[in-house]
Structures are given as structure tokens and as C-alpha cells.
């Protein structure tokens, strides 16, 4: 059993009277793709926000590669290799695609307290940026202003940004939302190539993608993990079927 790369111990968060996250103990092993599913409002994005540091938990702790990161702010966790994509796409809309990625590359390229030197012309930033662009299917879009990209391309860039900082753990929040069948397929393929090299925590509503990609799945309902296991185990779990998969199947 590999030592887990990301674990939470008893993570709890309430918003007023609403328990968004109750005693969540989650483990992510290196190289695995762990999916987090559950009905809307189950608290999945809250978990991601807690993990990445945008929200502080009421109690519980988070460990990244054995290190307690509970008190480390957002940027610190990112610097330690924890990257995320956002459900609501969050990019530098007024900058070009290449500029967006170059900034991401810059984040993990040593100190940015450099006051001379032209960052826009720096090949050590541009080349990795271009490589990520190519990998994400955004080749040729370098000069395009991000705000004018299509939704599908913005989704791709959203994931690309997280990849560009060369993380150890990738938190993906509904990366396929709003993508058509083709886009979803491409993203799925890409994510499957990442498996093994990165550890991924994936929130998705697209069940086909989830079941084909995930090594393990945790089901979240009203902030509580009601089941966790392999895709097969989850598929067969009557509790899960009742609460969640039944609804999803009906909706599909």
C-alpha cells in the first residue's frame, strides 16, 4: 500500500446551521484518480475549497505527503504542489493564452522577485507554456485573448493552468461542465494520460467519465461520505443507488 499523498482527518465545516462537510476522512494515494461524486449541494466544491485552502475548516486536519498543511495559506499549498481548477472558470481574461500559462509556469520557476529582464520574451517561460498548450489541444491559440476563447477552450485552459505549475496533486472541479461530447472525450483522454504521474481528485457529474477514469470513488451526501470504494463497489452499493445513481440514471 503506497503511502497516501493527500489525506484529510475528520474535516468539518459548517456554514451557520448547515453542515457542509462532516467528519470527512479522505485519502488519495499517489498516482490514483479518486472521484468525488454526489448530488448538487453535497459539499463537493467545499471539500476542494478546504483542501486548497480557500476555506478554513472548523476542525480536522489536512496532510500533503505527510506534512500538515492545515495552517498553510492557499498560495503556500500551491507552491507545495497542490493545484486546482475552478468550477467557475477563473482565468486572466484580459491576457493572452500564452501569457496565462507563462504566469503559471513562472509560479514554479523560482523566485519572482526579479525586477529586470523581460518576462514576455523569456523562453524559459514561453517554451513550457507552449508545451502545455500543445498538450491541452490549445496549439496555435497563444496570442488569443483568453476572454474571447470558446467555452470549451476556456475549460481546457482552466485545466492547463493547473497542470502548468507541475503539481503533485490535482484537484479538478467539474472540468467537463459545459463541454460537448467531443470536448468531454478529449479531456477524458487527457486526464487518463495524467493518471499515474499525478494524483487526481476529480469532481464530476458526467458518470461515464467518472466510472471510466476513477480508481476509487467517494460518494458525498449533505457533507458526509456515505460510501467509498472501487467503481464496481460503488455501482453495486444499494445506498448509493438509492440516493444518487438512481436520480442520475433517471436524469440521463
Amino acid at each position: 500500500m503506497n503511502e497516501a499523498i493527500l489525506t484529510t482527518h475528520n474535516l468539518c465545516k459548517r456554514f451557520g446551521a448547515v453542515p457542509a462537510c462532516s467528519h470527512l476522512s479522505l485519502t488519495l494515494t499517489p498516482g490514483e484518480l479518486h472521484a468525488l461524486i454526489g448530488p448538487n449541494g453535497a459539499g463537493k466544491t467545499t471539500v476542494l475549497n478546504l483542501l486548497s485552502g480557500f476555506i478554513t475548516p472548523d476542525s480536522g486536519s489536512i496532510f500533503l505527503a505527510g506534512r500538515d498543511i492545515s495552517a498553510i495559506p492557499v498560495h503556500g499549498r500551491a507552491a507545495l504542489g497542490l493545484a486546482r481548477s475552478f468550477q467557475l472558470i477563473s482565468l486572466f481574461d484580459r491576457l493572452s493564452v500564452e501569457e496565462n500559462l507563462a504566469i503559471a509556469v513562472q509560479a514554479r520557476s523560482g523566485t519572482s522577485f526579479r525586477f529586470l529582464g523581460d518576462a514576455a520574451a523569456d523562453r524559459r517561460l514561453r517554451e513550457p507554456a507552449r508545451r502545455v498548450m500543445a498538450r491541452m489541444g490549445l496549439k496555435g491559440c497563444g496570442r488569443v485573448i483568453t476572454g474571447s476563447l470558446s467555452h470549451g477552450q476556456r475549460r481546457q485552459l482552466e485545466v492547463a493552468m493547473a497542470l502548468a505549475i507541475k503539481p503533485r496533486v490535482l484537484l479538478l472541479d467539474e472540468p467537463m461542465a459545459g463541454l460537448g461530447a467531443g470536448g468531454s472525450q478529449r479531456l477524458q483522454e487527457l486526464i487518463s494520460t495524467l493518471k499515474g504521474r499525478l494524483s487526481i481528485l476529480l469532481i464530476e457529474h458526467d458518470m461515464t467519465a467518472v466510472f471510466s477514469l476513477a480508481d476509487r470513488i467517494t460518494v458525498l451526501v449533505r457533507g458526509e461520505a456515505i460510501a467509498a470504494g472501487t467503481p464496481d463497489e460503488i455501482r453495486r452499493n444499494p445506498e448509493v443507488q438509492r440516493v444518487y445513481l438512481g436520480e442520475e440514471a433517471a436524469a440521463c
Partner: protein, 323 residues
């Protein structure tokens, strides 16, 4: 560019010392405004307290120069600090003290966002204003009069023309260095923080640290301009730090075009010239300036520099981007 260097001789022939003096003032405020642009235009933080740094720089120069001229000391306790009129000492001092104030207040202010930040920067500047008004030893609300201008080795400081050239060189130096900083990795982070702070944090940047450095740089620049201003007018008073001054500098940034460094200098020229021009017609020129400002804000957006660039770059459109 050459125009700027030729200005004094031309101006003196046209309008005498007055125009050269005005031009000098434009350069000085242009420097302060360009510094503010780093925070506002590139950093996206609206600071209403920039005049405080100008004032600190001015007072630094004023206090030390006065002490030197009067052969007294700046401080007798706990240690003796004599005055000096040497510009090579007073101007860096102006920058340093302003930077220090910027550091201390920056640490506090930058923990806040948006409206809080605006109000706190304003409050700190006004605090300094009241502080200097109550400080009788530095002249209180009457301020300090400089006997002589600061000396630069080998240069005659008393001439307005010389001062003009000194200011010009300093401003150009700042625009050059500032331009480099803005294009550097540091500049990218500042801009990223402005464009999408959440995304920048999520990438791993401790934005507040970069902002603090940016804030201090801007403060030092303003301090330098304050030191130059003290030399220019020969007079230092708390009014320099009044929040209406901060507002004026902010207006210059907006008027000229933020996020360009050069724009604010143009804005400084525009505002000061407009004030002079309007003042010729009525002593109540502010009643016109107010609505003009309103109109500019509501209907204009690019600033004068942006406008000019738009016109001159019309020919360049139509180029296709290479991939």
C-alpha cells in the same frame, strides 16, 4: 522627447521663468503620479493616501535643509543629527523615509481589500497631515521655508532651468526603470494579482508580498518627488499631504491613462495646465473642474495616453498574428 530638453530655452523666451517653473512642477507631479500608477494601474489597488509619501519626502528635505541653513541640528536627543543641504544625501533620505512609512502602513493597509483599502490609505495620509499640523517645531500648519535649494555637486541649483533638467533626468530614469520592472517577472505577478487575485493565489503566488514591495517602491518614488518639490517651491507645509492632494495625483493617473507609466505624466501635465488655464478666467475654477472630472470618468475611459495611442496605432491594425 527632444522637445522636453529644448523646453526651457524656448519657454524662457516665451513666458519667462514662470513657464519653466510650471514645467518643473509638471515633471515632479508626473513622477509622483507615475509611481502611483504602479499601485493603481498595474496593481489594481486604489490608494488615496499617496500624498503622504510626497509630504514625507518634502519634509525630510525641508527639515534637513532648514537645519543646515540655520546651523542647528535636526535632532539633539537621543542622538545629534545635523542638517544638510547636500542633495545626494537629502533626496535618498526623502526616498528612504517615505519608503519606511510605506512599509509600515503597507503592512497594515494591504491586509485589506477594495473599499477598506481606499479608506485606510486615506486615513493614514490624513493622520500624517494632522500630525504635522500639530508639530509646532516643524512649523505646524505654517510649514517650513527653505532658505537654499539642495546642492548637487557641480550644479547650480538655484536656477529654475537647472532644476528642471534635474527633474527631467530623474523622471526619465524612473520611466525607464519602471518600465523594466513592469515587464519583469515581478511586474507579471503584480498584474496577475490585479487581473485575478484568486487565480494568482491558486497558482502559488503570495500576492500580498509582491504588493507590499510594489507599494514601497511607489512610496519611495513619491518621496523623491516630494523632495524635489520642496526644492522647487522652497516651501513645505502639511497641505502637501492633504487628501485633496492625493486625489489630485489619482486624477492625473486616470486622466493620462493608468497602467502605462507615461500616461500619468501626461495626466499631470493636463491637470496642471488645465488648472492654470481655468484659473485665468475665474478664481472659482474648481466649479468647472469638478464636472469636467465627472464627465471624464463617466464617459472617457482610456485616458489621454490611451487616446493618443489609439489614434497613432490605427495604421498598424490589420496585421495578422503569427502563431
Amino acid at each position: 522627447m527632444a522637445l522636453l530638453f529644448l523646453l526651457p530655452p524656448v519657454a524662457t523666451r516665451l513666458g519667462g521663468d514662470y513657464l519653466v517653473s510650471l514645467a518643473g512642477r509638471i515633471l515632479i507631479y508626473g513622477l509622483a503620479a507615475a509611481g502611483l500608477d504602479l499601485i493603481v494601474g498595474y496593481g489594481g489597488m486604489v490608494s488615496l493616501g499617496h500624498a503622504a509619501f510626497v509630504g514625507i519626502g518634502a519634509y525630510a528635505v525641508g527639515i534637513f535643509s532648514y537645519a543646515a541653513a540655520e546651523s542647528t541640528t535636526v535632532l539633539s536627543w537621543p542622538l545629534t543629527i545635523p542638517g544638510t543641504e547636500n542633495a545626494l544625501f537629502t533626496l535618498p533620505l526623502a526616498m528612504g523615509l517615505a519608503a519606511l512609512f510605506g512599509l509600515v502602513t503597507g503592512i497594515i493597509c494591504l491586509r485589506t481589500r477594495g473599499m477598506y483599502f481606499i479608506m485606510i490609505t486615506l486615513a493614514f495620509a490624513q493622520m500624517l497631515f494632522y500630525f504635522f499640523v500639530s508639530l509646532e517645531i516643524f512649523g505646524g500648519s505654517d510649514g517650513i521655508v527653505l532658505i537654499n535649494r539642495n546642492r548637487l555637486p557641480g550644479i547650480d541649483q538655484e536656477s529654475d532651468t537647472t532644476l528642471y533638467y534635474v527633474c527631467l533626468v530623474i523622471l526619465l530614469l524612473f520611466l525607464f526603470l519602471g518600465g523594466r520592472v513592469v515587464r519583469s517577472r515581478f511586474g507579471r505577478v503584480i498584474i496577475a494579482g490585479r487581473e485575478n487575485e484568486i487565480r494568482a493565489q491558486a497558482l502559488g503566488f503570495a500576492i500580498h508580498r509582491y504588493r507590499l514591495v510594489c507599494y514601497v517602491i511607489a512610496a519611495a518614488t513619491a518621496g523623491l518627488s516630494g523632495g524635489l518639490l520642496a526644492n522647487h517651491t522652497g516651501y513645505v507645509s502639511p497641505d502637501l499631504m492633504h487628501w485633496s492632494r492625493s486625489g489630485e495625483i489619482l486624477v492625473m493617473v486616470l486622466l493620462g491613462g493608468m497602467g502605462t507609466l507615461v500616461g500619468p505624466v501626461i495626466g499631470a501635465a493636463a491637470l496642471l495646465l488645465m488648472e492654470e488655464f481655468l484659473a485665468m478666467f475665474t478664481e472659482h475654477w474648481m466649479v468647472i473642474l469638478g464636472p469636467v472630472l465627472l464627465a471624464v470618468v463617466l464617459f472617457g475611459n482610456q485616458g489621454l495616453y490611451g487616446l493618443w495611442k489609439g489614434i497613432t496605432e490605427k495604421d498598424e491594425r490589420g496585421d495578422t498574428d503569427d502563431t
